[in-house]
Symmetry: C2
């Protein structure tokens, strides 16, 4: 069923940010898988850009991240994780579980677009400073309505007696939820402190992921890039709620 079992996993992503690539890195790290983070190696950026050129047959990636695994190239973060998860044993077997996991991952992907647009509501190609007024308005709506809606939905899934989003066993979507909470806590520390009180199960899940031995080792290693103001989650204090707010 799962072809290319012995081929190496090559991840292609921008070398200086966590960004969307981080969701794939976390899956590899938790699984203890060997992978190459290609663009962080010498010559890797060229290799990445070459693979994005139009090809005479087949579909080139529209944007990083993408994965090369033997003859298969998979682009789009959620698609990469859908492909990898059964191979890394990070999702229960069966179509129903995979569909549920994918729904959660795609909803997280939608959230990420909205997080990005808090600081870039007009255009990715413009500087933040050129769209700061719109960014303030969009961030206010995001923190007041959208973040609570998304995180409330995730919190709702954790109600009842399940420790993890898919039930009794950890899966890749828990790693993704961890990354979202980490990022929101970095970008909007005041709003996140407030949200934590409304979504305690989600913050508890975040802590459980953080303490898993392989994830803890990864987070302490140089492989984990720090958050910064070039990624999706950016700390611009003027976009956060006021302290204690």
């Amino acid at each position: 069923m799962l072809s290319g079992m012995s081929a190496p996993y090559e991840l292609f992503y921008w070398p200086e940010i966590q960004g969307r690539g981080e969701f794939v890195r976390l899956a590899f790290e938790e699984a203890g898988a060997t992978y190459v983070d290609v663009a962080r190696k010498p010559g890797g950026m060229n290799a990445m850009m070459n693979l994005m050129k139009p090809r005479s047959a087949g579909v080139s990636p529209f944007a990083p991240p993408f994965l090369r695994h033997g003859p298969v190239i998979v682009a789009q973060t959620a698609n990469i994780l859908f492909y990898l998860a059964p191979r890394l044993r990070l999702v229960p077997q069966g179509e129903k579980s995979r569909v549920a996991a994918h729904q959660i991952q795609l909803t997280i992907a939608d959230l990420l677009v909205e997080v990005h647009d808090t600081h870039h509501p007009i255009a990715s190609a413009l500087y933040y400073e050129e769209q700061k007024a719109a960014a303030k308005k969009r961030s206010a709506v995001f923190l007041r309505e959208r973040m609570p809606k998304y995180l409330g939905w995730l919190e709702g899934i954790l109600e009842g007696d399940s420790s993890w989003l898919l039930g009794r066993r950890m899966s890749y979507v828990d790693l993704s939820a961890f990354q979202v909470i980490s990022g929101l806590s970095y970008a909007f520390p005041n709003a996140a402190a407030k949200m934590k009180r409304r979504a305690p199960r989600l913050w508890a899940l975040h802590r459980r992921v953080e303490e898993r031995p392989r994830i803890a080792r990864y987070l302490a290693s140089p492989r984990r890039l720090p958050f910064n103001e070039s990624g999706i989650f950016r700390r611009y204090p003027e976009l956060d709620l006021p302290r204690g707010g």
Copy 2:
């Protein structure tokens, strides 16, 4: 492999817009499948809202569209199509083709978010009139940079000798590309007329889809809702390029 073959397909989506539900409707229509467009039936909106409530076990949809097929509920448009396509014979068999199709569909999903944000760059919950200044700025960047980037990528896939995005046979992503071109031509007629000259293969694909007998019958039927100013693709002339521009 494909469970629930005999259960009915029930689509849940807002009853008054094409929106994201339309991508699923087009797949059903092209396949000649029997489906229920639940929220357009009496009592259907209640049924839809009930299914979105948090459940004691499992994952409720975050938002429409979602599909119920026997015991399985699938949310997120691209996930629904990934689930349906092999059942409706709208994708070649094999993981490699399914992964490539899904990448295209997810990239189209990203484009749809950007189209929506041309008229709602600050907040979905506010009226267009309340964010018109930002909408003009965002639309200008969308038409100048983003639309050509996305459509140029799709056009690039069609170069060489393939008539369809996955090669020799039509698949569900061609239906989705058709819908994107239809929507952009409705929302931005001037910009679309200009773009057509740069992406002739994509417009030829649009015409081939439109002329398929089942699609042509569907488009002429009352099941096809008209475009309007409540959906993703909205015609606000002030956001388009000037005529001949």
